[in-house]
């Protein structure tokens, strides 16, 4: 080092001022600031002297959190001693997040139920959530006083009678719905008028396809990139395929639904396939797939790569005249359309009409009467304020509050008598139509192959015959096809029954040893539920059906 360099070296405090110390200081300040902010937020969230109720959900769509905030504020007027904290968690991680909270005994007092097996599975629901059968069945909602629902048992004040929240295996209610979901098609009336000369919404499948052709022509004429329809969930089974499959295949119910429960299970579909009740050459099945190829064509080539955000972007930018999605997206769409001065409308999935192509094979629209409620909130069993949590649910589902809460979020109310906003009326569940449909997802590998082949078919990368050949080969493959699915199902049912019988035996032994403990209501209910489950699921029926049909013993798993 030179003498000059020595002379230039800083002294005193200045020698500590360099990139490293500045970096460390910035880092320290950032950490201190976030720590302080966290403490502040914590204090704000838990005001002294108030009971705190935490409510978690994954509904991050536009408007929902604001309307829940509104409901919380209204509740604060009724119960000033309670502070309700809203926790919006992104849907993608909600399941894992709730898992951790439940296992750590730190779950929120009210949690939207779904997204994790710890909620959807009966045994875990029983462990973590509060049974509410007694209160929903026998007590009226006090917040309905002065309305037409005054004195009516709480569960009877819901449009679906809380059937969607009922857990048949547990003979119990573990959650309360706050809204309803259905899926429809949104339309940009201005773009539709520009393409077709009329803003009349298509009523049949043929009219829909014609409108889409006109939209394509508009794009070609003007040089604009127009894809007639965008779908938030691609060719999703629930939103698109199942609706049409019901119409095309419900006529097979009499042949395939052997246990007469109104549902054609994958194994019943397999049995019918083997018995020759239908094949890939059955005209109604061919018609179904042909119509879905036509439907996919309206979504544009390569639609499987388009996700929810991209689909919404296309619709909001005026690149698509139609958007296939659910009622939960209404507020966001309306907000954007209002800003742009465009007209927004909603219509039901158009079905092939009489005299139209495929019309002769189409029996009718699917029934949505069993749609059930949505936004189901359960009360955490270990919550210290269960009574307040239930009280807030009663408040949220009372006539006036539920109407206003859903109107603000632009969702469908679940309470009887609540007004539905004009835009949302087409979303109201259809209570007529058919329910049964074939289910070709016969086991996991067949389901994988079917999904992959269907996507290629809809993308016009594979012909129908190729798809049928691929899927049929998979179904008939002894190692991965229908036989294997039957053996898996048999095995699952058998082991489940065995496990439940063990639990039942243990509970019976405990009841003998400690008779007073057995009087606990939930234990009694659990025993009843298990007995019912064991009776239903002893697997012999699966085995008997397989062996009768195939004339060979059910293969080992």
């Amino acid at each position: 080092m030179s003498i000059a360099a020595h002379e230039a070296a800083p002294t005193g405090l200045r020698k500590y001022i360099n990139a490293t110390t500045i970096g460390c200081a910035v880092l320290f300040v950032a950490v201190a600031a976030s720590f302080a902010q966290m403490l502040y937020a914590e204090r704000q969230a838990s005001p002294a002297g108030k009971k705190v109720i935490r409510i978690s959900h994954w509904q991050l769509e536009a408007g929902y959190r604001d309307s829940l905030d509104w409901a919380i504020a209204e509740y604060a007027k009724v119960r000033p001693d309670v502070h309700i904290e809203q926790m919006g968690i992104t849907e993608r991680v909600y399941g894992q997040w709730l898992n951790c909270q439940l296992i750590a005994n730190a779950a929120p007092d009210l949690a939207e139920m779904g997204g994790t097996k710890l909620v959807t599975d009966d045994s875990y629901t029983l462990r973590y959530f509060q049974p509410m059968g007694e209160i929903v069945s026998s007590h009226p909602n006090p917040y309905n006083a002065g309305t037409i629902l005054e004195g009516v048992p709480w569960k009877e004040t819901f449009i679906d009678g809380m059937r969607g929240a009922y857990r048949p295996q547990l003979l119990e209610y573990y959650s309360v719905p706050t809204t309803m979901y259905t899926t429809r098609i949104y339309a940009n009336l201005d773009l539709l008028k520009e393409a077709t000369g009329s803003d009349e919404l298509p009523k049949t499948f043929g009219e829909y396809l014609k409108a889409c052709e006109q939209l394509k022509s508009l794009g070609e004429r003007t040089g604009r990139k127009i894809i007639p329809a965008a779908s938030c969930y691609r060719m999703d089974d629930w939103m698109v395929l199942a609706k049409y499959r019901t119409g095309f295949t419900s006529s097979m119910e009499a042949d395939l639904d052997t246990d007469l429960d109104g549902v054609i299970t994958p194994l019943e579909t397999y049995a019918g396939f083997l018995r020759g009740k239908f094949s890939f050459e059955t005209p109604s099945l061919v018609a179904y797939y042909e119509s879905m190829v036509a439907m996919a064509e309206t979504l544009g080539r390569g639609f499987p790569a388009i996700d929810r955000q991209q689909a919404q972007f296309m619709f909001n930018q005026g690149q698509s005249a139609f958007l296939v999605t659910g009622s939960w997206d209404a507020a966001g769409m309306k907000r954007t359309f209002d800003k742009r001065g465009w007209r927004l409308a909603v219509f039901d999935n158009p079905m092939p009409g009489p005299g139209e192509k495929w019309g002769e094979y189409f029996t009718g629209a699917s029934n949505e009467a069993g749609v059930g409620g949505g936004g189901n909130y359960g009360v955490y069993k270990l919550s210290k304020n269960k009574d307040i949590a239930i009280d807030f649910l009663q408040f949220l589902t009372s006539l006036k509050i539920n109407e206003e809460f859903n109107a603000k979020a632009l969702w469908l109310p679940i309470t009887i008598g609540a007004d539905v906003p004009e835009l949302m009326k087409p979303f109201m569940p259809r209570t007529t139509g058919y329910t049964a449909k074939i289910d070709l997802k016969i086991g996991s590998e067949v389901a994988s192959a079917l999904t992959g082949a269907e996507t290629k078919l809809f993308n016009k990368e594979m012909s129908y015959d190729e798809m049928a050949k691929t899927v049929e080969a998979k179904i008939r493959n002894p190692n991965v096809g229908g036989d294997f699915a039957a053996s898996i199902e048999y095995d699952r049912a058998k082991t489940e029954s065995r496990s439940q019988e063990r639990v039942l035996g243990m509970m019976s032994a405990m009841a003998m040893l400690r008779p007073q403990a057995d009087t606990a209501e939930d234990q009694l209910k659990y025993r009843k539920a298990l007995m019912q489950h064991v009776r239903k699921n002893n697997a012999q029926e699966i085995r008997w059906r397989f062996e009768t049909l195939r004339n060979k013993p059910i293969p080992p798993m």
Binding site: S123, K225, R301, M314, G452, N459, N479, R492, S499
Partner: protein, 477 residues
């Protein structure tokens, strides 16, 4: 034996005598031992948290994976010991698991080439004369590391978007879309023209990949006369690789022998043993021939030509065999059409200059002594010569580490494909990789025990590849 026993006895006797004769010496030894043991105790205590964490969080889950691979387990309550049934299913009954390795094989080869830009970037950085600029570039390389992976993924997804994506805009603006449209016609024609060559090569070597294998063997024959051990070693590799290439047909033969159904083309299954034996014999014959001094000099040319020919057939005769019709409307859906998904996955991350890779290579390059460069300059080596003779050999340790990471990553990663294409791997399940299949088996199908078995199989494959890298990717410094 007798001498040794006597010697030990004598030593013991001597020690005993010493001990008896010097009690203070015994005390000193005990004190020394105590001191040492105290030191060891402290060291062990210091290591305990790390060891305990490793045992609990690393080895215990792995042990559980091994254990549950022997069970039928649904992730919850159903746990039945079924021995090796899960492995039997993986090897002989599962028609989806092994095909997932086709994509992973393609991605492995592609990723091998995608390592090169990082090496080139590191060398260029290393050769920068200005320290300041080198520092600036190093910082620029580190900055992308702070961008969350999900953001990078969304940027790339947008890049591939069919309507607004940068890629299609660029291809249309530069006229390259026209080139792709032309290739979509020309390439299938070329493939059609090469079909007889592909068939002939397949007939001679079992498959085109068989020719690549034999070519690689010829190319890597040591320049000195092979010892008997070496020959057996090569022979073993040849057999293993040969089996891997013909595995799909081999499983059919085994299944047929066990009374099952043949899924693949019966002619392939029938000819399998003949082609396998013929291919192995050819390979061994070539190795022996190459060991003869007169032919050794041409081994590089022969092996190289075989690989170039076979790879040429793969690229031009077997890849683009039919028109995709994806470019006709000038807005191909790169992630939405089954035929474009693999090219998109390969292109992902362009220009493939990985931050960690560059920094790793740079660290290796900076360890090269200046004397070596001076000596090279005296010997008259140019820039390219220095790279081949000095830099690449001396960073081969880093290359090997990256190679191992890359291989493990390619074989096990599935997050990207899962987020882009969903758990079924997109249209036609074309994006299904082993990791994704394992995930689907566990979390979609609920077969956790079987997924554990698949994980063990995957780990074994990775282990074998890693050992091969350790053994063969090295240089005598």
């Amino acid at each position: 034996m007798t001498t040794a026993t006597t010697s030990i006895a004598a030593t013991n006797a001597a020690t005993g005598i010493l001990a008896r004769k010097s009690p203070h010496m015994r005390g000193r030894r005990a004190s020394k031992w105590l001191h040492k043991s105290r030191l060891y105790t402290i060291l062990l205590l210091l290591m305990f948290p790390t060891l305990a964490s490793m045992l609990v969080f690393t080895y215990y889950p792995q042990w559980e994976t091994i254990k549950y691979s022997l069970y039928k387990w649904d992730g919850q309550d159903v746990r039945d010991f079924i021995g090796f049934a899960n492995f039997e299913k993986a090897f002989f009954k599962d028609s989806l698991f092994w095909p997932t390795f086709q994509l992973v094989g393609i991605l492995l080869v592609a990723n091998l080439f995608k390592m090169l830009p990082s090496i080139a970037a590191a060398v260029v950085l290393h050769r920068l004369k200005s320290d300041r600029w080198q520092y600036i570039y190093r910082v620029l390389f580190v900055i992308p590391m702070i961008i969350p992976g999900l953001v990078t993924l969304l940027i790339w997804k947008q890049f591939f978007d069919s309507t607004t994506g940068v890629l299609n805009v660029f291809l249309n603006a530069t006229g390259l879309m026209g080139v792709l449209q032309w290739l979509d016609v020309a390439m299938p024609k070329l493939a059609g023209g090469l079909a007889p060559a592909v068939n002939a090569t397949s007939a001679a070597f079992g498959s085109v990949w068989g020719m690549v294998l034999v070519g690689a063997m010829v190319l890597s024959v040591p320049k000195k006369l092979l010892s008997l051990t070496k020959i057996w070693e090569w022979w073993a590799i040849l057999v293993v690789a040969g089996i891997a290439i013909w595995w799909p047909a081999a499983t059919d033969v085994v299944a047929a022998a066990a009374g099952g159904d043949i899924v693949a083309d019966p002619s392939t299954s029938a000819s399998l043993p003949a082609w396998l034996v013929a291919s192995i014999c050819t390979g061994v014959a070539v190795i022996f021939a190459m060991s003869v001094s007169r032919l050794r000099s041409v081994s590089n040319w022969v092996g190289g030509a075989m690989i170039v020919w076979a790879m040429g057939l793969v690229f031009f005769g077997m890849t683009w065999t039919a028109p995709t019709n994806s470019f006709a409307n000038s807005s191909p859906a790169w992630l939405g059409e089954s035929k474009l998904i693999i090219p998109s996955l390969i292109f992902w991350g362009f220009p493939w200059v990985g931050t960690v890779g560059v920094l790793l290579y740079l660290a290796g390059l900076q360890n090269i002594s200046a004397d070596v460069y001076e000596a090279a300059e005296i010997d008259g080596l140019g820039s390219i010569g220095k790279f081949w003779s000095i830099e690449l050999p001396l960073i081969l340790t880093q290359v090997r580490i990256n190679l191992i990471f890359m291989t493990i990553g390619t074989l096990t990663d599935y997050g990207l494909i899962f987020l882009l294409l969903g758990p079924q791997g997109g249209p036609g399940n074309v994006g299904m990789v082993p990791g994704l299949y394992m995930y689907k088996t566990a979390f979609v199908d609920g077969q956790f025990g079987y997924a554990c078995a698949l994980g063990i199989v995957l780990a074994a494959i990775i282990l074998v590849i890693t050992v091969m890298y350790q053994k063969y990717v090295k240089v005598d410094k």
